[in-house]
Amino acid sequence: MNAPPLIRLQDVTVEIQGRTLIENVTFDINPGEIITVIGPNGAGKSTLAKALLGIQTLSRGEVLRRPGLKIGYMPQRFHIDASLPLTVKRFLQLAHNPQRWREALQRVEMEHVAKQPMHTLSGGELQRVLLARALQRAPDLLVLDEPAQGVDVTGQAELYRLIRSLRDELHCGALLVSHDLHLVMASTDQVLCLNRHICCAGHPEKVSNEPAFINLFGTQAARSLAVYHHHHDHHHHADGTVAAGSECSHGGHHV
């Protein structure tokens, strides 16, 4: 059963005012597949997400969507000014399928914030509410730009677990954008390492051994990535370091 890909990017290049933001990016996202795009700041991760969403003009190449493809999108840097009075419920009712707001909110375990004003939500609560909004469309593809921003470490693990279980339930594809190598890697099928062009791509374990990856992120990060993938269910100490005899350090992964 080889279903056609949900979306196919073919030699996608985006240039703005003579600067190349992404170059010759080619890949597919298939149903049920989670792809994580990693890369340093300014590598073009958000540009890639926008190209995929169809809100970024391409200089060359094309994006082929499966007909009728529904995309649920969770933007990066979502900020609501405190001067705008808007409850979570109303926020969700502004989306597609407004009648499904409760169902979506239940799915991300956030019903208790329904009547709360948006600007009072914590980082983790806000990200879940945004995820609920993306789910409301019954999407075939989730595009999540930095889903774990402003979420504490325990919250991040839970958020990624939630994203994985949503994928299993909806059998949707997912593209995650992240600059954080930690927990993302344990929950992804494919890693796409971006630095304007795709440096390397594939299974997290394989990617972590690629010279291009090590070049971009450093040896330590590469080692910890491999370790993370090997020890799916390792235990964490209270301070967040990994318990099971791994030599990975949690600091200094960010590039």
Binding site: Y73, D81, S83, L84, P85, L86, T87, L94
Partner: protein, 263 residues
């Protein structure tokens, strides 16, 4: 006396019906400095209108639209931050307007009335213009409401959900230019923004939905016009600034009442 007072009241109240909801977007989108820049450029519109001998309100609207487009274009360069740019354009256009008007010595130009408005000089024709503008703006706001809210929340998300963000942005700017042109006679170039932001800010503590805030902002604006005109009538104070002072007092009371309620 009613010949002076009634057009002033009607015009001011009509204006409050647009500045209320539009002012909410100015507050939510943090556009008050943008509004200032647009309104300062209105004086250039006045000069242009007098020079070319066309309808001054029309010239003001055109001037504001032109300024808005210039701003949108100049924001794309990355050497100077937006607030600096707004400051440069606001004061330069105000000065350009003043310099241009000084060349027209043969014409009777009442500069003070352009700078601070002359609410008591409104006639019934002005009132008709304001009402027509108010009806047009309210219809436009009603049609664009959802789109404007979505754009205010997040432009990328709005675009993905199929809203035409660029068109909505341009229409918002057009509405602001129109309102500034209409409000010029009431409060003048220097005080126009206050009529947009003060009633909206006063409405905020008592609102739990965007629509309620817009409605309360209208009510605050109407109150400010009535109270300001009364002040002006009994104590012979300048009408435009009196309306702004009334709005400010209302804002302070709103903040105070909110503090007390949540103390």
């Amino acid at each position: 006396m009613f010949d002076i007072l009634i057009p002033a009241l009607l015009g001011g109240i009509g204006l409050a019906f647009i500045t209320g909801p539009l002012g909410c977007f100015v507050v939510w989108r943090r556009m008050s400095y943008f509004g200032d820049t647009l309104s300062h450029s209105a004086l250039m519109g006045v000069a242009l209108g007098l020079m070319l001998e066309v309808n001054v309100s029309l010239a003001i609207t055109a001037g504001c639209v032109l300024m808005g487009l210039t701003l949108a274009l100049m924001q794309r360069q990355k050497h100077i931050a937006t607030d600096t740019l707004l400051g440069i354009l606001a004061h330069s256009s105000l000065s350009l307007g003043l310099v241009a008007l000084s060349f027209m010595r043969d014409q009777q130009v009442d500069l003070m009335s352009y700078l601070f408005g002359d609410l008591l000089a409104l006639n019934y024709q002005d009132v008709i213009w304001i009402f027509a503008g108010a009806v047009a703006a309210i219809i436009m706001l009603k049609l664009l409401w959802r789109s404007l809210l979505m754009m205010t929340l997040n432009e990328d998300l709005a675009a993905v959900e199929g809203y035409n963000v660029l068109r909505t942005q341009l229409l918002l700017m057009l509405m602001m230019s129109l309102v500034i042109a209409l409000a010029m006679k009431v409060v003048g170039v220097l005080l126009v923004t206050s009529l947009l932001i003060i009633p909206a800010a006063a409405a905020r503590p008592f609102s739990d939905t965007p629509e309620k805030m817009a409605a309360l902002a209208i009510a605050s604006g109407v109150f400010a016009v009535v109270a300001g005109l009364s002040l002006s009538w009994w104590w012979d104070t300048p009408a435009g600034p009196s309306v702004v002072v009334a709005a400010f007092v209302l804002f302070l009371s709103s903040m105070g009442a909110h503090r007390l309620r949540h103390a």
